[in-house]
């Protein structure tokens, strides 16, 4: 790891001020992604601001019937929360499908949203990667791309977003709340949080410089059958090849977001009216414009079959 100075702050306002004061500083929450990347010198902050003690670790009910989830609520606590389990089951299921018990105990809500890709070429600093070194190329496109994106990608980058939680948040229409060093609060619908790589894969979110996520809000519960189906090479402790987060209502309508296939959870609201017509027709619309590699083109039919399975389960 490269050397860094370290400070601990006690409030969100202090955190926002601290990051503005030191160029090259990063927030440290759970650290389960950041410290991993720092060990490989993929992330090299000169200064760490430990926000573990600033609160933001509660789940509160909102007057509109929704919830506000503090940015620092751990993945375990969020998945285990009784109200979340009952009314936002898809979120619990998605969280529990990810990582390991040890990691879920330390990883935070905001950290989970902001975690970086596990593309093996991003992780190997000997390889070309436009995310790590803009303009250096993408070794993944002609490399081992089985785990990587089939849609939303570009000629510069085919990395996927690895989070399960984010797929559920997408299907729940989550809203990310932030604070800026100037003290301004902002709301970002999750569908607008992530950037597609295009020509600048190193820009991953629409967060502004030094913006701190303070919470994630969920609208009032919508009911329906909640199913998260994750297809992966191992039965546990592996990232998704394809995952489907579905909320299906009795009349056959619903919402679907797909993980493991794109730089962000993939949801096309315009395709959802086709759900009652079945998986084949819906998936054709959802995956329109897909540009897979030879190694990962299997994911497209895998999405269709997984959606079909989920729709069948929702009916039973």
């Amino acid at each position: 790891m490269k050397s860094f100075t370290y400070e601990r702050v006690s409030t969100p306002a202090q955190a926002a001020a601290a990051i503005a004061a030191k160029p090259g500083a990063k927030f440290l929450a759970g650290g389960t992604n950041l410290i991993d990347l720092m060990k490989l010198q993929i992330e090299t902050p000169g200064h760490l601001i430990d926000i573990g003690g600033i609160g933001l670790d509660k789940i509160e009910r909102l007057p509109n019937g929704g919830v506000r989830i503090g940015a620092l609520v751990t993945n375990t606590d969020l998945a285990a929360d009784l109200h979340i389990r009952k009314e936002y089951g898809i979120l619990s299921r998605a969280l529990l499908a990810g990582a390991s018990g040890q990691l879920r105990n330390k990883a935070t809500t905001a950290g989970n949203l902001l975690q970086r890709t596990r593309c093996p070429y991003f992780y190997d600093t000997n390889q070309q990667c436009n995310k790590r070194v803009p303009g250096s190329g993408c070794a993944a496109i002609a490399g081992f791309s089985k785990q990587l994106a089939v849609i939303g990608s570009s000629d510069a980058c085919i990395a996927t977003h690895p989070s399960d939680m984010a797929v559920a948040m997408m299907v729940l229409d989550a809203i990310v709340e932030t604070i800026s060093p100037a003290g301004k609060s902002r709301l970002i619908p999750i569908a607008q949080l992530y950037r597609l790589p295009g020509k600048a894969p190193h820009l991953e979110t629409t967060l502004e410089k030094n913006e701190l996520i303070t919470s994630v809000m969920l609208p009032a519960p919508v009911g329906g059958r909640h199913i998260y189906h994750k297809v992966r090479d191992r039965a546990s402790y592996a990232f998704a090849l394809v995952s489907v987060a579905a909320i299906v209502f009795k009349d056959g309508t619903g919402r679907i977001a797909v993980g493991g296939i794109a730089p962000k959870p993939w949801r096309v609201p315009g395709a959802e009216s086709l759900l009652p017509s079945g998986a084949k027709i819906f998936t054709a619309k959802l995956m329109a414009g897909a540009r897979p590699t030879k190694e990962n083109e299997f994911k497209i039919s895998l999405v269709e079959r997984t959606v079909g399975l989920v729709l069948k389960q929702a009916k039973s």
Binding site: S3, R8, I35, T76, R85, K86, A97, G101, Q102, K106
Partner: protein, 214 residues
């Protein structure tokens, strides 16, 4: 470890460390004076900070390089070498310890993140004279071969039983809104973050089942 020092015997670790120093000294003696290398460029100074926490009931106050992980703090600074470094990247679980009642991968945590925390390592769960029930069960059910993953497995298994008692669900839990029962499938899912290359999994599961009372 303490027993060996008391009887004057050299431990395996001390023997290897001593041999390594002897060989290194010999190599340096041979090279120095033959070739004068370029002047050493400026070295970035180490940044240190103070941290204070409780480990196995004992308060510790130390000054460490900010980059020190909790794992390295425990092993290198406190000489609690029961906790192992397997992958150092949060993928194998050999570094599992219990912090404020929750199991975490100590390799992905900075020591500095644990101000005032209460940490339990394998050494704190039990001793050779006073084994933790999970340790006894691992011995009885032959829950290890080489033993390298074992401290992490035991810490994790102990924590898993607590998580189940606390009603925390898992990927294997059929109904999210009802109580979680100890089953083999539940235990294996919850322990998926602890790898064992010797393949002692089935015996580990039986050991935990006994402690869970099933």
């Amino acid at each position: 470890m303490e027993n060996e020092i008391g009887t004057g015997r050299i431990s395996r670790r001390e023997m290897l460390a001593g041999t390594a120093v002897a060989i290194t000294t010999l190599a340096i003696t041979k090279v120095t004076g033959l070739e004068a290398g370029p002047a050493v460029s400026a070295i970035t100074p180490v940044v240190s900070a103070g941290i204070s926490f409780t480990v196995n009931g004992k308060l510790h106050k130390l000054e460490v390089d900010t980059r020190t992980t909790l794992l390295d703090m425990l092993r290198e600074h406190l000489h609690l070498t029961g906790t192992k470094k397997g992958c150092d990247h949060g993928q194998c679980g050999a570094c599992t310890v219990i912090v404020n009642g929750r199991r975490i991968n100590s390799c992905l945590s900075l020591a500095l993140q644990h101000e005032s925390d209460s940490i339990t390592t394998i050494e704190g769960l039990g001793t050779p004279d006073q084994l933790h029930p999970m340790q006894s069960a691992f011995i009885k059910h032959d829950g290890y071969q080489c033993g390298y993953c074992t401290p992490g497995q035991i810490c994790s298994a102990v924590a898993v039983l607590e998580e189940m008692k606390a009603g925390i669900p898992s990927h294997a839990t059929a109904d999210l809104t009802s109580e979680t029962a100890f089953t083999n499938a539940e235990f294996r899912e919850r322990m998926s973050g602890n790898l064992c290359r010797c393949g002692a999994y089935s015996n580990i599961a039986e050991a935990a089942a006994e402690v869970a009372g099933t």
